[in-house]
Structures are given as structure tokens and as C-alpha cells.
Symmetry: C2
Subunit: 430 residues, 2 copies
């Protein structure tokens, strides 16, 4: 747990000299095992959590420089104190750290409007595999002076070096917002509704999340008393938030007007607008309690795939049908980010049917393969936002074109010829 970039550099240099592998770790909230030592060779677990200083906030430049160990919630608070916002938002906001968010190109619910972490990073400081320090902490909106090297470290999951700090983009703080829950007859209607709303309110759509009927049922059954603000009679529900920095924009009135138009066009079957913040929180609680509720409902196999948005309406019934046919007793739920083409396909397996770890593992492998195959068939990705980590290395080898794996190995070899940085993550250890 080094406390400074210099200490990271000394440690990495020592490891390089001794040929000892390094596994960088932040808040340890990743979902694919990227920050976990794999156990097949000795490695130093390099945890960045002590490097938790916000080095600078430049409000006039709308930028903030944070060390790798800064927790996301703290960065968001620091931006807020300067009447700015840092828009990245995901479930682990209270424990995930900037270094890990950069290294995994984190997504979440704000991607539709603000982009993934890659779009939110202006500069990176990293310790290279030989222990030298690269200070790429530039705070520029435009910089075409040579290759944009920070792109290599964003999403590399610590395999090319250790990200020790980053310059982040800030945005004007939002001053108005309004939330609605809508019932829809299908996935295509959700895509059409999104395009209709974008045409009506531009990019004031702060969030646009879909949940399947079965998913909300599970949340209501296992969510410790959560309630739905509307009767549940439709196959899909969308939670939408409009927000704007313009204090004069009447978000609630605009939302109601647009929903009326959407109802008239048949895009929406029914809608409820939250009349105050507490009611909005209750709507969002349905979304935020998915993971916990699913765990209580059974053995959960969750997936993180993406397809072109135009293929979502094909993808969802396809995977649902295949899982239900091929995996006994699987209840398939869907939740995700329609605007990013990113759907979490979740199979909940009854613990009465799946009793041993071996049975669970076999079912999980079956579900994952079905979902990955379907996403690749429809020109999608086997990992939309969670990354490859240790979990999907073999899957990546199976589905990526050989030329692409070769290019990835060329990059890895150019930066980490000894193969000491997070070995066995993304790519099979050399």
C-alpha cells in the first residue's frame, strides 16, 4: 500500500529487478477478478487506496486531478463543492476508486449522456512496468501532439502499468431533474421511446434504464418491502430521469408533456411521474436493489454484454429463449442501459434445483456461453463495461479475431516485455 507515486515507482522497480509480478488493486469492486492475485505465480498485491489525495481542482478549466486511491463518492463531493459535477455513477460509488475506474474504463448509468470513463479522462499519471514514472497529467481539451498514450492505460486493467493519478473532466452542476417510470410493451418500444425523447429534449436524458417484468417481480418479492408505483402488467419498464443545468427549465412539466405525447404515439402503455424527490428515490430503489434481491431469489448468473442498439429487440428474446430452453429452472431477468446497447442478462436459478457448487458452476458456464454466443452473433461484445479480468480470458481468446489478439499481445509486449504487470488478466500469461 504505497502512499505516493514515488513509492509505487520504487516498488515496481524492485519487482522488475526481481522478476516478481504485480497485481494493482483499487477499491476491489471489480466483477471479473481483474484486481485479484491469480495464485498461479507469486505476486505483489499493490493496493493504491492510501493514495487518496485530490491534488487539484481547477474549476475554471472544469477539471480535477485525483490520485488513484480516491473513492468515487469523494471525487463527486469535491466537484459538487465547486458547483461542478463529476458524472460517473455506478453501484459501488462509495468504495470504487479512480485508478480502478480508469483502468477498467468504467461505465454505469451516466454513459448515455456523458460517456464512459475514457471520455471523462483528460490526463493520466502512470508507473510503467520498469518503474519509471510517466507524467501525462495534462488538463487539455485538445492535444494532438503525438500519440494519445493515455488511451493505452484506460481500460488496460493494470496490464500495461499502474495508473497513479488522473485528470478528470468536470461538468456544470445540474439544477433541475424529474423522474418517471413507464410501462412498455417491448424492447423495441424502449428504443423508439429513447429516440423520440432525444428528439424532444436533446441530451437532457440523464438516465434511461430498462427492467423486465420478471426483474421487478423479484425486486418486489425480495427487496424488503419495496413497492412499485404502478400496477405491473407490461413486459418491460423504463426508469427515466431528465435533468438540466438550466434552472429555468421546468423538468417536471416537460417530462409530463413529453410522456403524454409518447402515450399518444403508443410508445408507452402507462407512466408515473415522481412528484417529489422521495418518490423519485423510491422509483430508483427498484433499480438499485436488483443485485441484492436477485441473490436472495436464488443462484444468480449475471452477464454484461452489449449489442448495437438497433439489435436489442432481437437480442433479448433470443437469449431469453435459449436459456429457458437449455438451462432447467432458469428464470431470466433483464436490466440495463438501453441507450448504450448494454443489457445485463441475469439468470436466477432455484437453489432447490441447483444444490452443489458443481451444478451451479456448470449452469453458470452454460448461461454465459449462450449469452456470449448470442451477443457475438449480433455484432456485440462479450464485455460491455465490466472488462475481461481473469474471468473472461479464455472467452476472449475464443471470440476475438486472431489478428486482434495478436495486436493486443504486441502492445503488451512493447510495454511489459517481462509480463510482470497483472499477468493472466485480459491476456493469458505469456
Amino acid at each position: 500500500m504505497p502512499g505516493s507515486t514515488q513509492e509505487v515507482a520504487t516498488l515496481v522497480k524492485t519487482c522488475a529487478a526481481m522478476h516478481v509480478a504485480i497485481v494493482p488493486q483499487g477499491g476491489n469492486t471489480g466483477l471479473t477478478g481483474g484486481a485479484v492475485a491469480s495464485g498461479d505465480r507469486p505476486a505483489v498485491l499493490l493496493n493504491l487506496s492510501r493514495m487518496n489525495r485530490i491534488r487539484e481542482i481547477d474549476a475554471a478549466n472544469n477539471s480535477l486531478t485525483a490520485e488513484a486511491g480516491c473513492i468515487l463518492a469523494n471525487v463527486r463531493e469535491a466537484a459538487d463543492a465547486q458547483e461542478r459535477q463529476f458524472p460517473l455513477l455506478l453501484g459501488s460509488v462509495g468504495s470504487c476508486e479512480i485508478g480502478g475506474l480508469v483502468s477498467t474504463n468504467a461505465g454505469g448509468t451516466g454513459v448515455l449522456r456523458y460517456g464512459s470513463m475514457r471520455e471523462l479522462v483528460l490526463g493520466v499519471e502512470a508507473v510503467l512496468p520498469d518503474g519509471s514514472v510517466w507524467d501525462g497529467l495534462r488538463a487539455l481539451r485538445k492535444d494532438n501532439a503525438g500519440y494519445d498514450l493515455k488511451q493505452l492505460f484506460i481500460g488496460a486493467e493494470g496490464t500495461l502499468g499502474v495508473v497513479t493519478a488522473a485528470v478528470l473532466k468536470l461538468f456544470p452542476r445540474l439544477s433541475v431533474c424529474a423522474t418517471a417510470m413507464m410501462a412498455l410493451s417491448g424492447v423495441q418500444q424502449a428504443v423508439d421511446l429513447l429516440r423520440f425523447m432525444q428528439g424532444q429534449v436533446g441530451n437532457r436524458i440523464e438516465a434511461f434504464e430498462i427492467l423486465s417484468h420478471r426483474q421487478i417481480e423479484i425486486v418486489l418479492e425480495h427487496g424488503h418491502g419495496l413497492q412499485s408505483p404502478m400496477a405491473l402488467e407490461a413486459p418491460f419498464y423504463v426508469l427515466m430521469e431528465l435533468a438540466d443545468s438550466s434552472p429555468q427549465w421546468d423538468a417536471g412539466a416537460e417530462l409530463e408533456r413529453k410522456l403524454e405525447a409518447a402515450l399518444e404515439r403508443g410508445l408507452v402503455l402507462d407512466a408515473v411521474v415522481a412528484s417529489d424527490g422521495a418518490k423519485a428515490d423510491r422509483i430508483w430503489a427498484l433499480r438499485h436493489n436488483i443485485s441484492e434481491s436477485n441473490k436472495r431469489a436464488g443462484f444468480t448468473v449475471s452477464n454484461d454484454t452489449s449489442v448495437p442498439i438497433s439489435r436489442l429487440a432481437q437480442f433479448i428474446p433470443l437469449v431469453t429463449g435459449r436459456i429457458e430452453q437449455q438451462v432447467e429452472g432458469a428464470s431470466v431477468c433483464h436490466a440495463g442501459h438501453i441507450g448504450d446497447g448494454n443489457i445485463h442478462v441475469i439468470a436466477v436459478l432455484s437453489r432447490a434445483l441447483y444444490t452443489t457448487p458443481e451444478q451451479c458452476e456448470a449452469a453458470a458456464a452454460r448461461v454465459n456461453l449462450i449469452v456470449h454466443e448470442a451477443s457475438v452473433e449480433l455484432d456485440g461484445s462479450i464485455s460491455a463495461e465490466h472488462g475481461i479480468g481473469r474471468m473472461h480470458v479464455e472467452r476472449l481468446e475464443r471470440f476475438k479475431a486472431p489478428i486482434e489478439l495478436q495486436m493486443m499481445r504486441a502492445v503488451k509486449a512493447a510495454f511489459d516485455p517481462q509480463g510482470l504487470m497483472n499477468p493472466g488478466k485480459i491476456l493469458r500469461a505469456g
Copy 2:
């Protein structure tokens, strides 16, 4: 001039076998000589203009797949026909091509709202230096399945391979807009005005361009009858456009209201709102005629630097003072993209004083060095949007940290070990 990706591949493979260098070229509109054969070794000039097909438009996915030779204006029109927009916009819109725009990570006036080309590219197809074809034409908003290899080709100026096609992001078409010209007392006021407007209208600011008093004077003097809609008594002027896809948003009324508030706060000295499209066009003509007018005014030395936005107010007087002190008879103008921290510092030199090519070159070198030194002093970049090309290779070597040059060379060597792809551009030829 190959007509297909396969023809490009055949050509590159042949060149690789024969150790012949390749210089990729698109619309040949670059400003730093990146698409020009350097003459110090034999090279094949590989022009992509015949590959000008739009392969696919997926309106529901807000994406468009264009071959490298597609002219920007044609891509914008194709998007418009689907009620979408492709927002990249720069002076050479009628002749620049997608492959070059990707390869130079092009900027322009839309960056403030939509980002540079890097943010607008979802996928890339490229022919690698050995002649193999990488099909990275994914149309996904989220894809964390391994390294994001397309980032390597964006902004690499053809030194790592030949970009043959790209998947581009589309956006909802705008339906309302309003334009104003404002007089300001200084650069800091322009930055403050931008932040004030962002707080008021969020990211409905479509353009926010600054011009110095001297720059407008030159445009009026040499712009073939162009006129200013307002008296010229302030040191700086801002041209601003608000636009929105929401047809109900009254752009003109909002603009007037916000400008009144800005006047009250002392951010703006005076303002004129264009009451119709023709008047807006006349305001924008002042901006678009800068290059032509400056050329008529004298020998022009133009620069393309960026600094953090918070340092613009320091940067502009600094370079102006140094140039005026150190370069005889230089008239310094400024025009640029305040919201990106990107200012074009333009020295216009009297042709009466600078008569020989040698005198002009010496003066240009002096001006460039002053501007580059000042931008680096203030943590800026020597090339904000034009790239390095052939022109700034030595300058890059002088100002980049050795570790960064070393990383860039490692990337180059990993992909192009023979050094055949656009040699001598960005990096000195091996």
C-alpha cells in the same frame, strides 16, 4: 488510389515485401504536412479518395459506417437525410475525408459540445503495416473486451497503419438555433461568460468562438465587403450559437434573456442577436473568412496551441507581448475555440518588411518558437488539433518528455517494425 480495402491490403503487402514506404493521403487538407511525401526516401503516395462509399447507416443505433475517402460534407448530408447529424465541422468540410479526420483526430468548432473525432468514432477498419486487414468496425457504445485498439489509429497520422473505414456516432438533428455576437473587455470575461452560459443553458452551446479586435479589423479590411453588425470598440468578440433538438425550446428568446443577464453581470459590453438566418450567416462569415483575409493582409504565421482554459487569460497577452517585442512589424491576431482552450495565435507580417523567403522563414520560426514555448510554460500543447505531421517533428522532440517519446517509439516499433508507414511523420524516421 485503391478502390477497396482489399486493394489497399494488396498494395501495402507488396510495399512491405519490397521495403517501400507508404504515405497515406485523404483530402490533402492537413496543415502540418502529414499527408505529403517527404522526399528524403522513395514512397508510394496511397490516396484513399476512391474509397468513398457510405457502407451503412443504422439510424436506430445512431451510427454510420463510412469509407476513408468519404468527404465530410457528404457524411453530414447522409446523416441529415436520416434526421440525424454528424457534428464534426471545420473549414475544409467540402474536401476533407473521413480517413484523414480519424487519423488526425480532427477538431473544429463542434468540439465544445460533441468532442473531437476520437469521441465520434465507434469503430475502425485498418490495414496494418504488413498488409493484413483489421476489421474493428464495431458499432457499440460500450465495449470493454480487451484493449481499445482503435484508439491507436485515431490521431496516429497514418504512422501505424492505413485507416480504410470507420463507424461514426450520429446525434439527434438540431431543430432550433440562435446566433449572437458579443463585445468583451478581455479573455477572462470570455471564459467567465462561457461558464455562466453553461450554467444557464447546459450544453446547448453549439459554438463559442473568440476573435480579437485586430482579427476582425483585418477581416473587415480584406474580406471583400464583409461588415460587422456592431461597432468595434472592444478588445475581444465572441460569436456564440445556441442550438437544441427540442423544437419547443425558444432559442432566440433564451439567448436574449441570457445575454441581458450577462450584460447586467458585466460579462459582456455589448451584444447583437441575429434576428434571422441570413444575419447569422453574416456573423459567421466573419469567422470563416479569417484565413483568406489574413493571407491578403500579409505573410501569415498561424499557430495551433492549447492551454488549460483557466490559463487562456494569461497565455494570450503573454504571447502577444513577446511576439510584438521580438518580431519586427508583426501584427498579432487571435481566433479560436475558448471552450477547448485552443487559440490560434496568428502573426501577420507586412510584406513590405518581409520580402525574401528567407526573411519570412526566419520570422515564422521565431513566432512559432515563442508561441510553443509559452504554451508549454503554461502546461499546454504545441498542437491542439492540427497534429504534428512533418512540420513539428523536431519541435515535438524538443518539448516532449523523453519517456513519452520513448513510449511513442515503442508503439511505432510494435506495429511498424520496418518503419514503412508514413516515415518521418510525428516521429523522426528510424
